[in-house]
Amino acid sequence: MYPAYLEENIHIVEDTRVRRLIEAVPRLDEAGKADLLRRYHPDYIATSMRKLQVGVNRGDSTPVELADLLEGSSRLDPDEIDPSKPDYNVDVVVIGCGGAGASAALLAHEGGARVLVTTKLRLGDANTVGAQAGTQAADRPEDSPAQHYLDTVGGGHFANIPELVEVLVKDAPSAIKWLERLGVNWDKAPDGAMHELSGGGTSRRRLHSARDYTGLEEMRVLRDELINNKIEYLEFAPAVELILDDKGQIAGAILLNLETEELIVVRARAVVLATGGIGRLHIQGFPTTNHYGATADGLVLAYRAGAGLIFIDTMQYHPTGAAYPLQILGQLVTEKVRTLGAQLVNGSGGQFVMPLEPRDVVASAIIRECRERQTGLRTPHGEIGVWLDSPMIDILRGEGTIARELPAMVRQFRRYNIDITREPILVYPTLHYQNGGIKIDTEGATGVPGLFAAGECTGGVHGRNRLIGNSTLDLFVFGRRAGAAAARYAREVKRGSPTLEHVRRWQQELAQAGIAGERPVSPRILPGYARRTHNHARLGI
């Protein structure tokens, strides 16, 4: 239930619906978009960024929260641990088990490798399960992979790596098919035609969905398949460092048992990093849609081992995070709500942006509305937001559409006595996705021999802004490729002797740059949410 003054404002939203039914806000041209982004997008706040002082990407700018961790000290003392005495000895270790990690593990297993999957939380506790709107694939007659290519590079501001985009769009229909063969239930018509919707920045209806539980459905199936294949896995065991060998090749990873706090040494011929996103670093203080473990660990591990990163100065702020109620602040209100026809409306009942522009554009327009034009609405807790007019969906598409297409959203707001079929949703941008990450080629290979990466921890395919439905697609396309390539690599590699020498070198490099001890230890592993008060000193036992 909204407080009375917001209920009052909803009447204005209701009164303008008839007008808005026939009102179309024009798409912005390229110059208009560039201007909007430059003035309002959080990426353009120069004081939020810092140039890296050490490592392969020295001189590149990145948010200070990430810079701190990339320049952080290792959690390990290399003299205290012997990487040549492994607890596990496998061909491929997959670090992280969301959609990309699970796909990689399945394909590496299929490729004949002995696989170990390790994950910070449980199998599948990842951003994948929160992906609601769908997965892109150009498979309708009106559509083509070339059209998908054009949409993707345009959304990414033409910075995307062409070879990666080509693979993304060409592999897309087979990724959809692969998931269906594994038992994913896609929304489709009785004749088998996929039920596909448009999204922000897509010129065709191309989003494959499973109600608004798309990522959950994909993850449930992949996790089950992993277990059915008896692939070995460790939960609550995040990686804290990679192991190289004396030839500079990957040789394994050191994991941490989160509960016993023991270290686990894994010897592996190849490593696939699939550690996901960054949201729990709360860049610029934004709330986030991300899961509890999204702390950019994979970027830190890869960077310290000598792999290059790309586009680490650009984050995606999802335009529609919940601004009310407080309990779900910053949680995702799926883009599918706009896809189905909901408009964005300010406090005077006016539209201010075409609702299906790419995400960075829509987010910037909302920030302009709230910060500069002061037409947003303030919540009792001091948050600010604009209306996402969800009831328009049932008006446009018929009564019952919202209940059928958006059960998760209906359920989430019903808990707080808000009926999104009758009342709009108050929204504000929320930290959602890292557009960049570890640089990879079309097989997921990084700059370090034997180190592969896939999914949100990588960069290049989405350029400077990812489109809706291309993230889950990325997981399956590049997860599968990285897994298969890692298994092939593992068969052929001639191993050297494992060492943590690169960690020693890293600490020296930090000392030379004069920043040793200035930064926190990394990777972060979990955010520090437990409240600590100054008069409650803590003792370890």
């Binding site: 506790d125 896609w186 959950l216 277990i227 609550f236 598409r397």
Partner: protein, 234 residues
């Protein structure tokens, strides 16, 4: 906000704590100084990691929910339920056939259900768990898939079932069978896969890959946009 909000009394594993109104069970635990490792995942109501059981100081009736979604209330007594191993049949989906007997064959215990409806009352997603379990017993794969679709697999139904059944894994089997064998085939997907394999789009994509940025920008700006609505609104 938290400093100005009204403080309410809750009990975390018996310990009295005062927390601001407006938190979830999960953030109330963190406010009280607990660092959660198990029992926390997506923090958005999708992963099912934070299944929780609670009651009230003066009302011993147990209640069930997701800790990241449920708002904390005065006099709540909280514990976190760790996600524990449950029975799961392992199978190769490719070797199964989608006839109604397969669920009973892989989960023979489902015949032991005596209809107490505890599973339904426990489900934080408010699914009709007992009904889809009886559909499973009858071998109606489609009905199980439909009714269980919004399951986040938090495990509470299995935790509370007096007969030790695991509805969330039974439902997963049914959904996978449905998706693999019973959903209508999508001919247009197969057709597109074949076209891509035979190189039909190579030239067009190659041209885009090689196009100078100016030309790409022009093409992008000039795209024809398919209407978002399947049928035009009048």
């Amino acid at each position: 906000m938290t400093e100005q909000a009204r403080l309410i009394d809750i009990y975390v594993m018996g310990r009295h704590c005062r927390v601001p109104e407006g938190l979830t069970i999960l953030t109330a635990l963190e406010y009280s100084g607990y660092r959660v490792v198990r029992g926390c995942g997506c923090r958005a109501g999708f992963c099912g990691a934070c299944a929780t059981i609670y009651n009230f100081k003066n009302d011993p009736q147990l209640r069930y929910d997701l800790a990241c979604q449920k708002a904390v209330e005065p006099e709540m007594c909280l514990v976190q339920v760790p996600f524990f191993p449950a029975q799961k049949a392992t199978y190769s989906l490719e070797k199964l056939r989608a006839n109604g007997d397969i669920i009973r064959a892989l989960y023979p215990d489902i015949v032991k259900c005596f209809g107490c409806n505890t599973c339904t009352k426990t489900c934080p997603q408010e699914l009709e768990v007992m009904w889809f379990m009886s559909d499973a017993l009858r071998g109606d794969i489609g009905a199980v898939a439909e009714k269980s679709f919004d399951c986040v697999m938090c495990g509470l139904c299995a935790a509370r079932c007096p007969q030790g059944l695991v509805p969330y894994n039974v439902a997963l089997l049914a959904r996978r069978l449905y998706g693999r064998y019973l959903a209508p085939e999508s001919a247009h997907v197969d057709k597109r896969i074949a076209e891509i394999a035979s190189g039909d789009y190579d030239a067009e994509i190659d041209a885009l890959k090689k196009a100078p940025e100016e030309e790409l920008r022009r093409k992008y700006a000039g795209r024809d946009m398919e209407p978002a609505l399947e049928q035009q609104w009048e």
